[in-house]
């Protein structure tokens, strides 16, 4: 792996730099921090980063298509909270899951519709729907902040599942990443995402169904959020809706952006998500081992994200003459 890194030194890009930083950080932590290199800790790193990574995969698809999904965390937490609430109040599993799936897809469709057909900037649409999803589910559908998983339910069993001593969500993350890689690289619809992200007008002119593809991306992102939510509930045996107000959302953006997926769209892929997730995973784990309080961790993450956005802005500068009006 290192050899490849050296070979690419001449054509250094953000992904390479971040990967190098991740490696350096890993080595430094391995030497400097006791217990970091321990097998259990390594599994913990991968595990902690899986849910984040899965959410970042969904976000990556949207960002590559020149959008952003700020409702991902709300969908993830609230859909699962509603599902568990339905189960706890005696609704049959199949029916409950059908409700939730329909709800999640509806929100994805709504996001996509408003962005694609009403031409509303994605950032406002998803900010609004995120707020709505949280508010609606919290005030109308569930009764308290945290909803537990019913005893013996398959979600609980899922959390205990191990393969080669590695928790199941790591495999889900890997599987999803591989599927997304195939989708983005080898399918027609996957390529369309890059075309539309790079230059929506040109894509439209050559006949790419830009608007239906936009809707697809937001539906995909919502669906991925549901999977991430189920895995979270599986490992914690409950879902806490307060997570919506935490900085998880920005961690997701951080993973995507720091991995080298440009916010102006059309660039990046699954590999960037993996690199970004690796760096953030190592960083968070190292900070926890050094015993930095959570509040300070937020400060550090915010600073890193700010740095990443500044670097992104310098690498992809905007020109007064070509900048789109209203592109905020």
């Amino acid at each position: 792996m290192n050899a490849i890194g050296w070979l690419n030194l001449r054509s250094l890009n953000q992904e390479g730099i971040v990967f190098a930083i991740a490696v350096v950080l890993f080595v430094a932590a391995a030497i400097g921090l006791p217990g970091f290199i321990d097998a259990n800790n390594l599994v913990a790193i991968v595990r902690s980063v899986s849910v984040l990574g899965i959410l970042a995969l969904g976000m990556a698809v949207v960002i590559i298509g020149r959008g952003i999904d700020l409702s991902a965390v709300a969908i993830m937490a609230m859909s699962v909270a509603w599902y568990l609430q339905l189960l706890n109040t005696g609704t049959s599993d199949g029916l409950a899951f059908a409700y939730v799936l329909a709800g999640v897809l509806a929100i994805g469709l709504l996001n996509g519709f408003l962005v694609a057909y009403a031409d509303v900037p994605a950032i406002f649409v998803t900010l609004a729907t995120g707020s709505f999803v949280f508010g609606y589910v919290r005030s109308q559908l569930i009764t308290q902040d945290a909803v537990p998983v019913p005893q013996g339910h398959w979600v609980e069993l899922l959390g205990g599942l191990r393969f080669l001593d590695i928790p199941i969500e790591v495999f889900v993350f890997a599987g999803l990443a591989f599927l997304l890689f195939l989708f983005l690289r080898y399918t027609k619809w996957g390529r369309y995402i890059y075309f539309a992200g790079d230059n929506p007008v040109a894509a439209r002119n050559i006949g790419v169904p830009v608007r239906p593809m936009l809707v697809l991306r937001y539906v995909l992102s919502a669906f991925v959020a549901l999977i991430a939510g189920l895995l979270t509930a599986a490992s914690l045996h409950s879902i806490n809706t307060r997570i919506v107000n935490s900085t998880l959302l920005y961690d997701i953006v951080l993973v995507a952006v720091i991995g080298g997926i440009g916010l102006s769209g059309g660039r990046g892929g699954v590999r960037n998500v993996l690199v970004g997730a690796a760096l953030i995973g190592i960083l968070l784990n190292a900070m926890t081992i050094i015993d930095i309080p959570l509040l300070y961790q937020n400060l550090i993450k915010a600073a890193i994200l700010l740095g990443a956005i500044i670097v992104d802005g310098i690498i992809n500068p905007r020109d007064e003459q070509t900048a789109q009006q209203g592109d905020i």
């Binding site: 900037p121 508010g135 916010l263 509040l295 915010a302 700010l306 956005i309 310098i314």
Partner: protein
Amino acid sequence: MSFRERLQSWRYNLVPDHLVGEILTKRWTDNAIPFLALVVTLASFGSIIPGFFKLNALQESTRQLGEFSMVVTGMTVVMLGGGIDLSVGSIFALSCFSAVYVFFILEQSIWLAMAASLATGLIFGAINGYLVGYLRLRAFLTTLVTFIFGRALFDILVTTYAADVQLSTATSDVLDFIGDSTFWGLSVSVWLAIILAIVTHIALTRSRPGWHVLAVGGSRRSAHNAGIRVRRTVFMTYVFSGFCASIGGFLIACRLSGAGPGTGLNLEIMALTAAVVGGVSLGGGRGSVIKGLMGAIIVLTMTNGLIRLGYGTGTNQMVLGIMLAVAVTIDIRWLKNRHKVLNEVYVAPVYLKMGETQSAVPDSGTPYELDNRLSAADHIGLGELEGPEDVILDRDDHLYCGTRHGEIVRFFAPDYVRSEVFAHIGGFPLGLAFDKSGNLISCVGAMGLYSVSPQREVKRLSAETARSWTSIVDDARLRDPNDCDIAPDGRIYFTDSTKRYDAHDWALDSIENRATGRLLVYDPRDGLTKTLLDGYRYTNGVCMAHDGKSLFFAESWACRVHRYWLEGPKAGTAECVIRDMPGYPDNINRASDGNYWMAWLGMRTPSFDLSLRHPDMRKRMTRRLPQDEWLFPNINTGGVVKFNQKGGIVEALGDLSGAAHPMVTSMREHKGYLFVGGILNNRVGRYRISGADPNWTSPASYWGAKP
């Protein structure tokens, strides 16, 4: 009239469809939706919640409103400049903490606390401004990140110092005054918010920096190219937003005497929602402080009202989410489609059944029958002129005509080869007339009535008349002044063809066919303009009768000529003297034999006459077809008609070849020649009239022999 036609005429002539389009042209319609929302919100919550309008309750909620509306004012300014500031919540909280820290922990004076608070806001705003303005990062994400950063910092500070603040014994009368007292029924924070709003409003609308903000928001690129310092302007908007948020933070520090984890929570989404709900446009350039305040009241009433109605956790976010989504969508769709809708609904045709007419076909034996005489006319200025709508000659035989470039061109006698630009006015000079002292009076399309002295001084005589009370469009403005003539006493009678369309859209008026043409008079003695007659279908040419006691004016789309009496028993009234002509009349001028020349700008066609009886069809046409495919009146053939005092037709001249003068908008007789102009023509024609008085000139006819 058949039953169908009767229904059509009722439907389209009595229902005022045109008002929809006229209302949509008003800028205040932008404010109508937010204002309606405000009224509905206040009314519904006021009626649901008992005691909502009680003084105590109002004071409590307005106190909050004062702080909140300051933040919204800052957000509004940033949005007007084309950005967005999501970090206001953090700035608010940190400023609040700064004040609390300086006052309670350092135990310094309240003024120092205020200074610390404002400094916090300004510094934070400057950071945002630097990142977004100078480094040109994306405003939304950047301020989102600075928001998290500030929030994390605030959380750390609050958890560290919360206990110390509790133990502090610092007190101050000033603090209590700012926090608790009221002034004429309103709390200090509300007064400060009002002052800030007024100052900001004046700065935005009346000062150079304010205009720069609006210019940058309206079109960043144009502002940049116009030399405005875009980056610095954007920078300043964020600093201002930080400043506003910090005042709010200071006020809440005074009111609550402390800072808690809930300070400024969700403030950014509330402020953003307020600005957007109020009607401040995303992407900048459109909006005002007042709109922001309306939004602030709506949002605060909604959220507070829901809490007081006892809805649980999350309701606020739900309502904010819905409001934000709906408002943003309406804003985007409205901005995008307003012009489209306006273009589609503005033309509102009416029903008209044109009377049977006589034929103008050659050899048809009617007085209107056209011949080919005008094709023999010489040409003057061929290819040099564009759109000589009217032509006129002065006492020295020089020829004057307007062009579509806004100039009046003079051709020199005797051969009319040499020419010069006599005067540049702008607009589109149409009708021309010489007054007694040799000033050239012109009706300038889209501008008004102008006078050009022999020394070429251009002077505006009139651009407006009295506004009528019932009209929604501003009918004081002269939109399409068309032709003028001057009475012996010096008063200038002129026509304004339509109230609903600008001069260059005159063809749309023919499709709509609504009677909005006017006859006006300008009195040079007091400089006032009065409306004499209203409600004609495109008033056009005006000509003083030979005796100066009445005037003729043409009503183009109705193919009629009217006589308006200035003196005598019928003074002040008009009567129709020629009706149901086969052509659309334009300018009218005197002829040497005591009759009158009248130009026909086009000829009626059975198809267009039929379409006038089908307003529904014309309405569908204007909405569904591109303009190139619309059915217009035929303006490819026209002619010149001579009529007598009583309205009897004497003769008609035409150009059947269509090569020289297919359409005629004006003609002027001078020393035995007829000078012919056309608004779509590229020349002035000169035609020798057989048997005409070779010494008769128009200035002499009006003002007597040369002094």
